[in-house]
């Protein structure tokens, strides 16, 4: 057993990075992420962590430097939020397209304008198709443990894909909780050193990120897709192994909270899941068979696992903290696609919540479950996309 400390989600990620023995960190400050890299700087300055910190002049440079450092075979980390993530977008694709297992923490913050620093998921969801694995966490403890799992899965030779760990602004990044910090030896047993087969080597000159003609490009994309898809099972295995060695695991890629016999199920990502679990418990006390599917892994999308969690429900609701303008929340679209692919059609509704940091209360969640019970009775939703907590009615 390691030690227990009162720390926030940002500190927890920094501890994860230290325990993972990251060798290169290149990052640029942005609220609410900054504390992660400040904490890492302190670890390096105290001699607790042996890494090079590149104090870059922008996020575009941060991600370029991470891409290049990873090409030398160094274990590499960065962190950002919102505008910073958007500024990295071009280089995120170099990292993923070149199969460099960089790990990045994105503290989810809404996008401006209107200027804001508060929570929603629009930033990471906007980069959904950049070829990065995305995982969302619920607590500071999960943030620490998952940061370490990120390196394990990213560096697996069958995956070789960068991973973004997403944690909610303020609710997680700035809220302190009691966190178990594992022993270095426990983590060393879980996470071996990073040894890529293809790296910068003057004795074996390779062209990295070469150009291709149309006769080869698709094959690169196809193998990238294969690597991503393998990450689903490998993440489940990594979570189990972490559980065996460190004593904590998180239900793999979808946490099934009382779904097995549930009539009404909500799907959530991130910190909201905690409130939703409480609501499920109190509804169950009143006799309502409610459940919660907490989606940890968002890309690759765990189609089968989400179907398994939802298949026996009579009505489902998907809670999105972002919006694909002109349609609906992206998680809702994906969940529906997963059900369709499994020949399953359950009536459902999409709840758009908490944009730009608007609070989502237990009461709001309770109303969502009420709505699902109503749909259960009527067999279909009246309105498939609903904004929750809007100041005026739609």
């Amino acid at each position: 057993m390691g030690k227990r400390e009162f720390i926030n989600g940002n500190n927890a990620v920094a501890y994860g990075v230290k325990l993972a023995r990251a060798e290169i960190v290149a990052a640029y400050p942005i609220t609410p992420q900054t504390k992660i890299v400040e904490q890492i700087s302190e670890f390096i300055s105290n001699g607790e962590m042996n890494a090079e910190f590149i104090k870059v002049e922008s996020e575009h440079t941060a991600m370029s430097a991470c891409y290049a450092a990873s090409c030398t075979g160094a274990r590499t980390f960065t962190a950002t939020s919102s505008q910073g993530l958007l500024y990295m977008f071009e280089m995120m694709q170099f990292t993923s397209g070149q199969r460099r297992p960089v790990v990045m923490a994105n503290v989810n913050r809404a996008i401006s304008p209107p200027w804001t620093i508060w929570l929603d998921h629009q930033d990471s969801i906007s980069t959904r198709d950049a070829g990065w694995i995305q995982i969302y966490v619920e607590s500071a403890q999960e943030a620490l443990d998952t940061t370490i799992q990120c390196f394990k899965v990213a560096e697996n030779k069958e995956v070789l894909t960068p991973v973004m760990i997403c944690l909610d602004a303020f609710v997680l990044s700035h809220t302190e909780e009691l966190v178990d910090i594992p022993e270095q030896a426990e983590i060393d047993r879980f996470l071996p050193p990073f040894e890529p087969d293809y790296k910068v080597d003057v004795n074996r000159p390779l062209t990295i990120a070469a150009g291709t003609a149309p006769n080869l490009y698709m094959e690169f994309r196809f193998t990238q897709q294969q690597g991503m898809l393998k990450a689903i099972n490998l993440w489940k295995k990594a979570d189990e192994e972490f559980g065996r060695l460190v004593g904590r695991s998180y239900g793999g890629v979808v946490e099934n909270y009382k779904c097995s016999d549930a009539d009404v199920i909500l799907v959530t990502m991130g910190s909201l899941s905690s409130t939703a679990k409480d609501v499920v418990d109190s509804l169950r006390e009143q006799g309502t068979r409610a459940g919660l599917a907490k989606l940890r892994l968002y890309r690759p999308f765990p189609e089968k696992e989400i179907f398994d969690a939802l298949k026996s429900a009579k009505a489902i609701g998907v809670v999105d903290r972002s919006l694909s303008f002109g349609f609906e929340g992206s998680v809702f679209s994906d969940v529906k696609a997963a059900l369709y692919n499994n020949n399953c059609c359950i009536p459902g509704v999409n709840f758009i919540v908490g944009l730009g940091g608007r609070d989502v209360t237990a009461d709001d969640l309770k109303k969502m479950y009420d709505k699902l019970q109503y749909i259960q009775k009527n067999g279909k939703a009246e309105q498939t996309v609903e904004f929750i907590g809007l100041r005026w009615s739609e």
């Binding site: 060798e23 870059v56 290049a68 030398t72 080597d201 003057v202 070469a210």
Partner: protein
Amino acid sequence: MIKLQDITEEELLYGSLACAGCGGIIALRMALKVLGKNTVLVLPAGCLMATCGFFPQMAVNVPLVSTAFPSTPSTVSGLVAGLKVKGKEDITVLGVAGDGGTADIGLQALSGSVERGENFVYICYDNEAYMNTGGQRSSETPYGAWTTTTPVGRNKMWEDKPKKDLLRILAAHNIPYAARTSISHPREYMDSVRKAKETKGPAVIHVLAPCPSGWGTDTSKTVELARLAVETGIWEMAEYENGKYKVTKIIKNRKPVKEYIKAQGRYRHLPDEEIEKMQKQVDEYWKAMS
């Protein structure tokens, strides 16, 4: 001084798709001859990546890390740090980018890498436009030149700004070593590369590298033209070292600017009074420098 018998032949192989008479490929070839095999090269979008970095015609025989258009200096930064933690600080990290990739879209990143004092060699091959995308103007396109975004129709829209002064921008960073040189002077150029390699910290070389396709010149005239740019005083050979700006080639009897201008299709439209104006500017510059 570099001795010709000491330099290698292996680092840039046959198979590059560069146009005949490409000044950029000459700059890359000469640099790799000096730096040798213990080098990692970074190339962004631009003519050299397009002509040396596409499968199966990958012509570079040192590790090549290709990167996005704005990212040469930042990719260099990541390699320098990565090689350091891997205990391979003896390897030279070389970034080579065009004038667009350096003076325009990559300037912020270059400023960052130079300011942080990282140990690398960077070469900007200047063909005075975005050649890989068909020859649009850059901030290094000289006054009076035709490009595809400064076309010369009835409105005489030729380039109306002088070149951005990259060497003085670098000098303002108090960079340990920077040079402005030309492929027409291989000994001087290669010696700059050697000095850059020996410099502890950032070293940047700005090298004139004519592009026959974009300049409207004969493929056999590339080196001659670059030489003429120096001999007319249009292209000043200079260095910034130990905090001092130094002209490295004083031309005693400068040739008329007109000779250089008239040799190129991209200036075909220029009326004589414009060429006289350019001559006056060159004369004034050198007077101020003496």
